[in-house]
């Protein structure tokens, strides 16, 4: 039985966009008891389809043709009032960021109750019973306490469970999940995915699951629809699409997914150490006027070596202290104790003035390519800023910038343009060029490919590996993504709650993880049984 049928859906984009339509003639269906994964890179129109189905498209994006049916009822012809009745009752949606999807000043229980009050005629006692039942069903511990909590008091995973409970409390026929696990840590992600599959089986729902992550697709999909720039590139059963893609674009995407198998290159323990941390710790103290001081250890006694021509990967979930470590090492923040040894100079205790001449020797690339470049400065100014700071004449700095643009595979004539004229991947290349302009010995990459689409990610990773080899750079690579770490790192340090729990050559850590936390991380990686990559 077909639950959702989308027939030739076309959604118009406002004039002046990069293409005339957000979604062009897309047709697919979701059957009962089926999970259909809608995969695509950013801007492929996957969220627009979800909004079109829910009738939540903004006025600037009108449906120009095509029809959408939910259980034989045409949604594209339904009134606003009818859509409102259907939303929540027959179809519901969960989002990427549960914190913004939940009302921060309402208790979770009251928000669940509201759904029932709006859509049913249940009395307070019956509503309360149903609320508790659904909270138990999404496997939240201590249901009574959860219902009394405000969203900010819960963890990301718990919030997403509350969202799922809200979406399912009326037993809808269709659940639309728009990147529901993208903001979550890998272990939490695994739990939420398992929960969605379990609930879908039990209730026989159809699920339209939107994601950019082929690992997640491999984990939960029955069928897969691949979107490219608003058009359906491929639609088929999961195994067929993943292992034998017919479309060239799908093939390229799947090949770009990094594998969990570590690359062959062994770690070279003989290479000279460029940077060594010794028992490096950073503790944050919340000094309250009236309250007691709160002490948060972000990183404790971290000792690692970064060697010339080698990449040390630091992996961990959010809050594990990996970014704190990176920012301590490049001295954007001051460590509380321990040493940071660059050759035999200890950076940890240096003042800003003492650090200045040394800064050119270590550089950092950040996660968010959209915020890493000053919007009011040209790319050329950004790349030349460092060399100019150290007295390189303007003509030489410009020449160096042009050379670096070529190195990162960009047009040297684009130096006069502003950051907003470039895509995310191009901006990240510019950031890499800016860091390299200082001719550093150590390059710290703090989640530098995490915000990029998978095909762009593969290119930037290849570029980083190439640059490291060519310039004999020592690289410290911070990431939450085990697949990425497996591809680029020679050595891996696994961090949990500010401490390093496992540290060794990448192939050993990935093949025979010793620490239970590393084992848990690897086990949670979505699609781990599936061999991606070329």
């Amino acid at each position: 039985m077909t639950i959702l049928r989308v027939d030739g859906l076309t959604v118009q984009l406002p004039k002046g966009g990069d293409r005339p339509e957000a979604v062009s003639g897309v047709s697919f269906s979701v059957e009962r008891k089926e999970i259909l994964c809608l995969v695509g890179e950013s801007g492929s129109g996957k969220s627009v389809i979800a909004q079109a189905v829910m009738g939540l498209l903004p006025k600037t994006l009108p449906v120009s043709s095509g029809r959408v049916f939910l259980e034989a009822e045409e949604l594209t012809a339904a009134s606003e009032e009818r859509l409102r009745q259907l939303r929540g009752a027959r179809m519901s949606m969960i989002f990427q960021e549960p914190m913004t999807a939940l009302n921060p000043v309402m208790r979770c229980g009251a928000q669940l109750d509201e759904v029932l009050r709006e859509h049913t005629r249940m009395g307070p006692a019956a509503r309360r019973a149903r609320t508790l039942e659904i909270v138990r069903e999404v496997a939240l511990p201590e249901p009574e306490r959860m219902l009394e909590s405000y969203p900010h008091q819960l963890s990301g995973g718990q919030r997403q469970r509350i969202m799922i409970a809200m979406a399912l409390v009326l037993e809808p026929a269709l659940l639309i999940a728009d990147e529901p696990t993208t903001a979550l840590d890998v272990t939490t992600q695994a739990q939420i995915l398992r929960l969605i599959v379990e609930l879908q089986k039990r209730h026989g729902m159809g699920v339209l699951f939107i994601t950019h992550d082929f690992g997640v697709v491999a984990e939960i999909a029955h069928r897969v629809a691949v979107l490219r720039e608003g058009r359906l590139a491929e639609l088929g059963a999961k195994l067929e699409v993943l292992s034998n893609p017919r479309d060239a674009y799908t093939r390229m995407l799947i090949r770009a997914v990094p594998t969990l198998k570590p690359h062959g290159r062994g770690a070279d323990d003989a290479a000279p150490v460029v940077l060594r941390t010794a028992k490096l710790s950073k503790t944050y103290t919340d000094a309250g006027w009236l309250s007691r001081n709160r002490v948060v250890p972000a990183a404790s006694e971290v000792s690692v070596d970064v060697r010339r021509g080698q990449t040390l990967g630091v992996v961990g979930e959010s809050g594990s202290g990996k970014s704190t470590l990176a920012r301590c090492i490049v001295r954007l923040i001051e460590p509380t104790s321990g040493k940071i040894l660059l050759a035999d100079l200890d950076l940890a205790r240096m003042s800003a003035r003492e650090l200045r001449p040394l800064r050119r020797r270590f550089q950092i690339v950040f996660q968010d390519p959209y915020r890493s470049l000053n919007p009011r400065r040209t790319v050329g100014e950004a790349i030349m800023e460092g060399p100019l700071n150290y007295g390189v004449p303007r003509a030489r700095a410009l020449e160096r910038a042009r050379r670096l643009m070529e190195l990162v595979r960009m047009d040297p004539n684009a130096l006069g343009r502003y950051p907003h004229q470039f895509s995310g991947g191009q901006r990240q290349r510019i950031c890499i060029a800016r860091a390299l302009a200082m001719e550093p010995e150590l390059l710290v990459a703090d989640e530098a490919v995490s915000a990029l689409d998978v095909s762009v990610q593969a290119q930037v990773l290849a570029l980083l590996a190439e640059i490291r080899a060519r310039l004999s750079l020592a690289m410290l690579f911070i990431t939450h993504d085990l697949r990425v770490a497996a591809q680029i790192c020679d050595q891996v340090a696994v961090m949990q709650q500010g401490r390093i729990v496992e540290y060794g050559p990448a192939h050993e850590v990935f093949r025979q993880p010793r620490h239970p936390y590393t084992q848990a991380l690897l086990a949670a990686a979505p699609g781990r049984d599936f061999a991606f990559g070329g």
Partner: protein
Amino acid sequence: MRVLQSWSVRIGGAALLALLLIALAAPWLGTVDPTLFDAASRDLRPGEAGEITTLEGETLKHVFLMGSDSFGRDVYSRVVYGTRVSLLVGISAALLALAFGVILGLVAGYVRALDGPLMRVMDGIMAIPAILIAIALVALWRASLPTVIIAIAIPEIPRVTRLVRALTLSIREEPYVEAAVALGTPAGRIMLGHILPNTVAPLLVQATYTCAFAILLEAILSFLGVGLPPDIPTWGNIMAEGRVQFVAYPHNVFFPGIFLAVTVLAVNILGDGLRDTLDPKMAKRV
């Protein structure tokens, strides 16, 4: 230009431009020297004809478009020349407050150690009503154009400082500022080269509000008789002189009042328009 598509910007800007032209072209708009008086032409109604004596003792025929005051001075000429004073005071005071506020705000936001002391001083200034500070300062220094401008600018500095500090605090956390730190860029250049250019939009909006308030404050000071000396034609002075005879000759208060209201309104409309186009996030909140 996206900014020029906003009707608020167009209307406010056009009105201000017109006022600016009036101020610049004051001598050629059928005015006479605003300080001239003639005992024979006292308290004329708007539109009445009379005569006026120049400094050389010549007597001219003159139509008093907005009437005359109790000294026989031409209100129209005084109002038109008053535009000069009002705009000059408004714009200079806004620029002055902006200059100091930007420097103090950048320092307070970027140099942690100075944040507390600086902002407590600013809080202190903000705790005293602006008009009291201005009156006290003018009384201290003797009223003249520069002292009035400074006296009006000083109570406005904390507002600008607070805005710039708040912006600096958020911008300094942006990765591109951290990248500049990592690139060894000195603190001064980070503040002026990276942070300041990204505060321009909200600052421009704040500048218009400061300007409107400065114009109003100047008029208030003059009206209370603690602003510019009465021989200088300002809207506040004209209204102050007209106040006594308001019931009999309302035009003395009415015409400068209209000019003042239109000017302040135009500046505020311009500011709202700028805010909506330059800073859509802020517009939604208000």
